[in-house]
Each structure stands twice: as structure tokens, then as C-alpha cells.
Amino acid sequence: MLYREAGQFKTDYAADQAIFPILQDRIFLGLFLLLALVAVPLLANEYWLSTILIPFLVFSLAAIGLNLLTGYCGQLSLGTGGFMACGAFFAFKLATAFPDLHIAVVFLLAGVGTAGVGILFGIPSLRIKGFYLAVATLAAQFFLVWVFNKFPWWVNYSSSGVISAPAREIVPGFFITGTQASPVTKYVFLLVFVAILALVAKNLVRGKMGRSWMAIRDMDIAAEIVGIRPLHAKLSAFAISSFFIGIAGALWAFIYTGSVEALAFQIDRSFQVLFMIIIGGLGSILGSFLGAAFIVLLPIFLNNTMLAVDPSISTAIVSHIEFMIFGALIILFLIVEPHGLARLWQITKEKLRLWPFPY
């Protein structure tokens, strides 16, 4: 089937503003989702599900969250780890305090709580920009992790300081947290949940809110002059971004790892998510997914390659080389394609539309 839009006429603006205006894209997406929802659970083994697909989905959500703030609204944040911790610990307190609350509601409420914290730490963004703001978000990072680490109330006074997700069902008979939960149920739940949230994010960025954010990002003075209130736009970006990141943190703790301590959300986590959106593409929802996939797969790939080349190599060396390759890739992407994988994908599609002609 050729990738052409010739002959597809749009008769209203709604069709023109659809997320996938081209028929072939819609077919492709449909097939892809079908594959992800039916074929993957049937075929993939536990290793693939638990170490690749589940963290990929959780990270994608975190990357979407950060991308809303940094990619769309232009407010650089280094506090992602802190906000993920918020989500994880809020969800833990909620789930243990109200055992009857449905787990999906727990996740959403944890997101709402994190959004509140996000607004609080977003307030300085009204007076400061760029690097100053980045440093201010470091305050959130260090302070939040300290809070969750220091006060045993957050872990229900467990001596280890670790929270373990209580067992919960998404629908009767299907556990998504706790030890009984099978990777397949976890994966299917995450896939649906993250897909819905991604759709919400996409809707927000292509509507009024997204345009206000991008206007603030591109030129804040002009944005104010067309009537955008900077206070409103920036704080809403902080709130909604934190909402997504908070949910990602809760999913991390409850579904991916099952048990977690505050120190799992230190500043490296913030960088990890930041790298995802740089490599995936700033200001792109698709890019958030691509970046997450890249960052999740790369260490596994590097590990296996290095072990294949030299089976005696020490894990410390592997992790140092990994560090360097990450750093080099960031720089490479910034130089070669600052808009990341999403832009490469778009270029490929544009080329495909013209194929086999060069222009």
C-alpha cells in the first residue's frame, strides 16, 4: 500500500484537525494498537514484559508529563524525580488509608495531589525564567525526596523505609499490583491507561491550553499581548505536567517495581526523563514515547553487546561506558537533530509521501 493522501478530501475542519488526518496513518495506528493489545500479550515472555514494555510505558507517561512543561511551555524542569516520588508516596498513603478505593482512582488522585505540589513549586516561574527556573526546580527535587525519606509517616512507619504496593485488582479477578499480579495483566492495564492519558495530553496540546503554552514558550511578551495570562498559562502547565508525572511515579512504585524507596527518585531520574524528551523530541507526544523506548532499550542493548564482546567485563565499567554513551548521544542529538526522533519520523513520512520521487 502506498503512503499517499491523494484522493482523500476533507469536507470539514474537524477532519482536518484530527490527530491522524491521513487514512494510512489511521490504519497503521489501528494495526499497531491491535498488535500491542492482542499479539504482544500472547507472544511476549515475562522478561520482555517486565523489564522492557512495562518500564517503557511508565517512562512514556513521565516523559509526556515533562514534555508538556518543558517541550510545550518552555519551562525547564529538573524536578521530575521529586514529582514522581510525590505520586508514588501519595498513592501509597491513599491505597493503604482507603483500602476500598479503586486502584485507578488512587492513581488519578495521586496525580491530582502531585499537581498541587507542582503548582506550589511553579510559583517562582512567574518571576524567573530559563536557567534560574531550572535551579529552582532542583529545590523541588531535593526537598521532596528529603521529605519522603525523612518522615516515616510516608512509609507507614516501616523500618526499611520501603513502600510495598498492596495487592489490588483492576477488575475482579485481575490483580495489577502485589505479588499475584501477572505481567500480562499489568501490561494490558498500563497500555490502556497510558494510551488514554496520552490522548488527553494530545487533546490538551492541540487546543486552547496547548496554544497558550506554546505562545508562552515561543515569546512570552507577545503571548501576554494577545491576552494570555502568564500566571495562568505557566501554573496550568506545572499542574498538568505534575499530574502526569505523579501518576507515572505511582505506576512506577505500584506496577513496575512493586516496592520502592524515596531514593529511587533522585536527580538521576530527573535527568533520565529529560534525556527521553530531548532524544525523543521536545514538544511532541509521539517523541515522548520514542524517547522513552530509546532510553529503556539502550542500556539493555549496550549491556548485551558489551557482554557479548567481552564476557569478563565488570558491571561498573559497563555502567560508566553507558554514562558516556548517554552523554555523547545527547550532544549528538542536540547538534544533528534538536527536535529528536519525532522529527526524524516526520521527515521519513514526508519522504514516503513523495516516494519514489525525490521532490
Binding site: A14, V226, G227
Partner: protein, 263 residues
């Protein structure tokens, strides 16, 4: 043009004794003038005369130390720019201030943000009332795109457009807000003759079709004399003349200011 002049109504905005200083530098000293409904008012003057500062005061970007501005009957000393936008003041800039990462259509849609009211929960669904609202405003944006004849660049990121077209998109964004008062800061700077003619036509059409009140800054005297109903002249932050193009043209103070004769 005479048709336009017939429609000129009451005072829309009055500037009274406005003074503005940056540190020790006086940008405006006791400037007073008014802008009347439906007219095209040109503000001219040599470089550094305070023309842009005047526009910045009107739309709330600078706050004058002295004086007051009466807009639609409400007297104010200062306001925030987004508040000015909410009360129907739109503007373009001398150096283009478009949102470079967004498409032409999205830029024009930002001009309509103030008219969109669905809350973010509806926006998140992008369905029902939110979708209807979006489509309504898309139609309005498309009318402006047709008006400015920029259909073919609808989805192009504005950062990639040539200068003349960017100016046009910026005008489109201002028009999208359906302003009562449109401020244009050198809308024709850096354009070739053909582009200038187009821009003149758009400005006159805006005045005729929408009845928008326009205040513009321009250096090209030919253009100013052709399209404006009234001209005020600033020099060293003071108003030195105010009248019809013909009156101003003959004013000796204006001639001195432009030719640099002693003050």
C-alpha cells in the same frame, strides 16, 4: 476613503498628559491626543521620538509615571497587557513577534484564545462543546486567512516564512481577536513596493469591512499621507503637530523636525 471618514465617531481612547521616563531618559513628555472610533490615525516622527513607547503605554506594556488614559470611557493609569487585550486592544510589533514554533493557523488561533471559554476538562476530551467551540474559531481563523490571502501557508511553521508573509500573519493574529483598537508598529518596515501596496490594501480593507479603529506608526510618508485620516507628529517625546495629513504636511514645526533645523 471619504466613506470611512463619514463613519468617524466619538473618542475611543484619549491620552492625557502622559509622561514616561526610563531612569533619566525622558521617552514621552506630557503627550495628549485622542483616537476616534473608526479612524486611521498615523503616529509619525523621527527615530527615537517616542512612537513605539506611546504604543507600549497604550497597550499596557509600559507604565507611564504621569498622565492618564481613558479607553471606552474608563480612565486608567496603567494596566497589564493581557488586560488590554481582554478589552479589545490588539497590536503588531516593529520586530515581528510571532510564535515561531507554531504554524500560521495556530498563530492566528492564539488571537482567538480570549474568546474560547471551555474549561480544560472539556479540552482534554476534545469532544462535544469543546470540539464545537474549536471548530467555530477555526472557521473564524479561516475567514482571516482568506482575507489576508495566506491559504497556502496555513500549516507552515511561521519561522520558515519570508519576512513579508510573517508581517501578514502577525496582522492576522491581531485581527483574529476582533479588536476595537488595532495598533500597528511599522507594518510596512522593510517591505518592497509590492508588499507595501498589499499591506496598505489590507489596512484599508480592515477599516472598511470591520470598522476597526487603527493607530499606526509608519516611516513611509507616501503611505501615511495616503491612508490615514489624521496624523500626529512626535519629536523628542513631545507632540508637535496633530491634524489631517494636509495640515501636518504644511506645519513648519514638522518640517523642522524632519529636516533637523534648530529646535
Amino acid at each position: 476613503m471619504s466613506e470611512t471618514r463619514d463613519r468617524i465617531g466619538d473618542t475611543l481612547l484619549a491620552v492625557e498628559n502622559v509622561s514616561l521616563a526610563f531612569g533619566g531618559v525622558r521617552a514621552l513628555s506630557e503627550v495628549s491626543f485622542e483616537i476616534r472610533e473608526h479612524e486611521i490615525l498615523a503616529i509619525i516622527g523621527p527615530n527615537g521620538a517616542g512612537k513605539s513607547s506611546m504604543l507600549n503605554v497604550i497597550n499596557g506594556f509600559y507604565h507611564p509615571q504621569d498622565g492618564a488614559i481613558t479607553y471606552k470611557g474608563n480612565k486608567r493609569k496603567q494596566m497589564r497587557p493581557h488586560h488590554a487585550a481582554a478589552t479589545g486592544i490588539a497590536r503588531t510589533f516593529q520586530n515581528i513577534a510571532l510564535f515561531k514554533g507554531m504554524s500560521t493557523l495556530d498563530n492566528i488561533m492564539t488571537g482567538r484564545l480570549l474568546k474560547m471559554h471551555r474549561n480544560f476538562l472539556w479540552q482534554a476530551l476534545y469532544w462535544g462543546p469543546a470540539l464545537r467551540e474549536e471548530m467555530e474559531h477555526r472557521e473564524a481563523a479561516e475567514r482571516i486567512i482568506d482575507f489576508l490571502e495566506i491559504q497556502s501557508i496555513r500549516k507552515t511553521p511561521v519561522g520558515r516564512l519570508p519576512y513579508g508573509l510573517q508581517k501578514r500573519v502577525e496582522l492576522g493574529r491581531a485581527l483574529a481577536a476582533e479588536p476595537d483598537l488595532l495598533l500597528l508598529d511599522e507594518p510596512m518596515a522593510g517591505m518592497n513596493v509590492e508588499e507595501k501596496e498589499d499591506m496598505c490594501r489590507f489596512i484599508l480593507d480592515v477599516s472598511d469591512e470591520f470598522g476597526t479603529t487603527i493607530a499606526l506608526i509608519e516611516h513611509d510618508m507616501g503611505v501615511v499621507m495616503d491612508i490615514s485620516d489624521r496624523v500626529i507628529v512626535l519629536d523628542y517625546g513631545r507632540k508637535i503637530a496633530d491634524g489631517t495629513p494636509d495640515e501636518v504636511r504644511g506645519n513648519p514645526a514638522v518640517i523642522d523636525a524632519y529636516l533637523g533645523v534648530s529646535h
